[in-house]
């Protein structure tokens, strides 16, 4: 009954209520979205650098190198010579080196030449079909399989570069031989093939100065049938790759290599951990600014609830006195005021949580288009959202405190005599 009365009281003054709910909703929505984005963003970024200590690539911006080679969101810094990279890849400090060669895309999805180690690093098992072995065989990420509805045995032509509108390479068709299991990492949105496939695809025009490559292109038809041919092409001299993901056996290398390589070669190595931290701290400023804004709005909504309750208290003194005459206890009046405020907060929180998720799914759609990165709006971060809920309730409690105590201490006789 008390709760029902509180509920009816809320809607008896709809404008006050709507103002408070809107303010609460927007602040909760902003915070929810930020919490989800921040967590999922960091998760995505951090999970992708697992097992990568350093990235070796062409000189340029280290952040760009990391973004392009680990996250596949930026264009590469340039190419490096595979021969000189190999010297470092075979260094005893190195536990695992995964070479990457970028070439083409298919409808905006990058085609990446690499070794099976790459799939292993991301824990992407093959769910259907098999690993790529021969040139132009590809394993596609699970998201691509779903979005482009590609199946095992399908063939397609790649477009040059990373723009979907690029020149179409129609000498060779890629053939889907495997589909990887979903991992939630970048590999879900990649098309993977052998490195020689990339070389061979570009053999005709791009690296025309390289005769070996041209020959490779010509012998391709036979090459496809022989494993030795494929293995041999990886040992092809004078070829270029884009980057190498390095995992170290000896942690000394992580510290010393950036300087050694910068001094001795035309390459650079960058640490994903450092670059990503740099990126986060850049985002962090924006995120905390938005967070302060959201908490500010929450404070204002608390004040708005307080003012609404306080203002109506004067009008409702008679109502409260009457309830006391009818046998209501002081505590019941306190409860009515408290519950009204808390109900507002709960309603605001529920709307905010929903609105935040609607916002996130819209954000996710646009991020999907631009960065092939999606957010999951249905995830609940109990710890943080629970804290947010408690905070909202706390705001309601504080806002109602003075009006509720005033209702509790109401002098019935005086109120009724003056009425």
């Amino acid at each position: 009954m008390i709760a029902k009365l509180a509920w009816k009281n809320i809607w008896f003054k709809p404008l006050n209520t709507i103002l408070s709910v809107i303010l609460l909703t927007s602040s909760v929505a902003i915070i929810t979205t930020l919490v989800l984005v921040e967590k999922q963003f960091e998760e995505k970024f951090s999970s992708n650098i697992d097992g990568v200590d350093l990235v070796m690539g062409a000189q340029g911006s280290p952040l760009q190198l990391i973004l392009s080679s680990v996250y596949q969101v930026d264009s590469p810094t340039g190419n490096i010579s595979y021969d000189s990279a190999k010297v470092w890849m075979q260094h005893p400090f190195v536990q695992k080196a995964i070479p990457l060669a970028f070439g083409d895309n298919y409808r905006g999805y990058k085609i990446l030449g690499t070794t099976p180690d790459y799939l292993e690093k991301y824990g992407a098992k093959i769910s259907e079909g098999k690993l790529f072995e021969k040139n132009f065989e590809v394993v596609i990420g699970s998201d691509i399989a779903k979005k482009l509805s590609l199946k095992i045995g399908d063939e397609f032509f790649g477009s040059h570069g990373d723009a979907a509108e690029g020149e179409v390479h129609d000498h060779y068709a890629y053939k889907v031989v495997g589909i990887a299991k979903p991992t939630g990492k970048v590999v879900d949105n990649l098309i993977l093939c052998t490195i020689p496939s990339v070389w061979q695809m570009h053999g005709g025009h791009e690296e025309a100065e390289n005769p070996a490559h041209g020959e490779e292109g010509h012998v391709h038809v036979e090459g496809e049938e022989h494993h030795e041919e494929v293995d041999m092409t990886l040992d092809e001299p004078g070829m270029e790759i884009t980057a190498v993901l390095l995992k170290f056996r000896n942690k000394m290398g992580i510290v010393t290599w950036p300087r050694i390589i910068a001094q001795n070669t035309k390459m650079q190595v960058a640490s994903p951990a450092i670059e990503v931290n740099r990126l986060f701290s850049l985002f962090g400023i924006g995120i905390s600014a938005l967070q302060y804004l959201a908490y500010g709005i929450m404070l204002i909504s608390g004040i708005s609830i307080f003012i609404a309750l306080y203002n109506t208290l004067k009008e409702r003194e008679n109502e409260f006195a009457l309830m006391r005459v009818n046998g209501a206890k002081r505590l019941q009046l306190l409860k009515v005021v408290m519950i009204e405020s808390l109900l507002l907060c709960v309603v605001g929180f529920i709307f905010g949580t929903i609105l935040g998720r609607v916002g996130l799914s819209m954000l996710s759609n646009s991020a999907e288009e631009d960065f092939k990165m999606s957010f999951n709006p249905y995830e609940f971060i109990w710890e943080k959202e629970g804290t947010l809920f408690l905070l909202t309730i706390f705001v309601g409690f504080i806002a109602a405190l003075i009006p509720a105590v005033k209702a509790y201490n109401l002098n019935i006789s005086k109120t009724l005599a003056n009425a």
Binding site: M1, L5, K8, N9, W11, F12, R316, N318, E319, A321, L322, M323, R324, V325, N326, G327, A328, K329, R330, Q332, I412, S413, L416, A417, A419
Partner: protein, 209 residues
């Protein structure tokens, strides 16, 4: 029935009200009159347990309410005392019927919807049950107050200037309803008033000096 003995009350040290003793049988009516400032409303509030007297005893149905704690007084008042005020106050957000139900629920924990509907019928306003109190005329509002005061079948019905804001016709009707219903429900009816229109109607009178 209700009886009082040696009630005194003071807001401050210099001014002490001596309230006359009174006695009212169940089903009968007692009028308390007096000029403004003589403490009519104060007396009514004391009788309703809203104010604690300095000395004296108020016995309602063999319970001395002066000795009860505040909480117990609230409870006792809800169950055994019905009050009708000069100006009707309602819970604005609740409908007429819900107001009656709330009065019953606060006192007993039960809604007693049937009794509420029956009372509204007796008072001739059953078709207003789902309206908000503010949508009713003043005369109708006063009738709802009477219904609410009778909701918990009180032993004592206190009315504070129940007719002063009403026109002759409505005043007549309200007094009529108060007396007949208090008889029917076997409640002692105490009316505090300075309204000359109703003074002649009653034999039992106490005047505060």
């Amino acid at each position: 029935m209700i009886s009082t003995k040696n009630i005194t009350f003071s807001y401050s040290k210099d001014q002490v009200f001596h309230m006359p003793d009174l006695y009212c049988e169940a089903g009968s009516t007692l009028l308390i009159t007096g000029d403004s400032g003589k403490g009519k409303t104060t007396y009514l509030h004391i009788l309703a347990g809203l104010l604690k007297p300095k000395t004296g005893a108020i016995e309602i149905d063999k319970t001395d309410i002066v000795t009860l704690s505040e909480k117990a007084t609230d409870k006792f008042r809800g169950k055994h005392i019905g009050v009708v005020f000069q100006k009707s106050h309602f819970i604005g957000a609740l409908s007429v019927l819900e107001n009656l139900e709330m009065a019953s629920w606060l006192a007993t924990g039960k809604k007693h919807t049937k009794r509420a509907k029956k009372l509204l019928e007796q008072l001739g306003i059953e078709n207003q049950a789902s309206k908000l109190p503010s949508q009713l005329s003043i005369g109708q509002q006063q009738r709802v107050s009477i219904a609410r005061a009778l909701m918990n079948e009180p032993k004592v019905l206190l009315a504070d200037e129940p007719t002063s804001s009403l026109d002759d016709k409505n005043a007549e009707k309200v007094i009529e309803l108060l007396t007949s219903l208090s008889k029917e429900h076997k409640a002692a009816l105490l009316i505090v008033t300075h309204d000359n229109r109703i003074k002649e109607r009653f034999i039992n009178k106490i005047t505060l000096i």
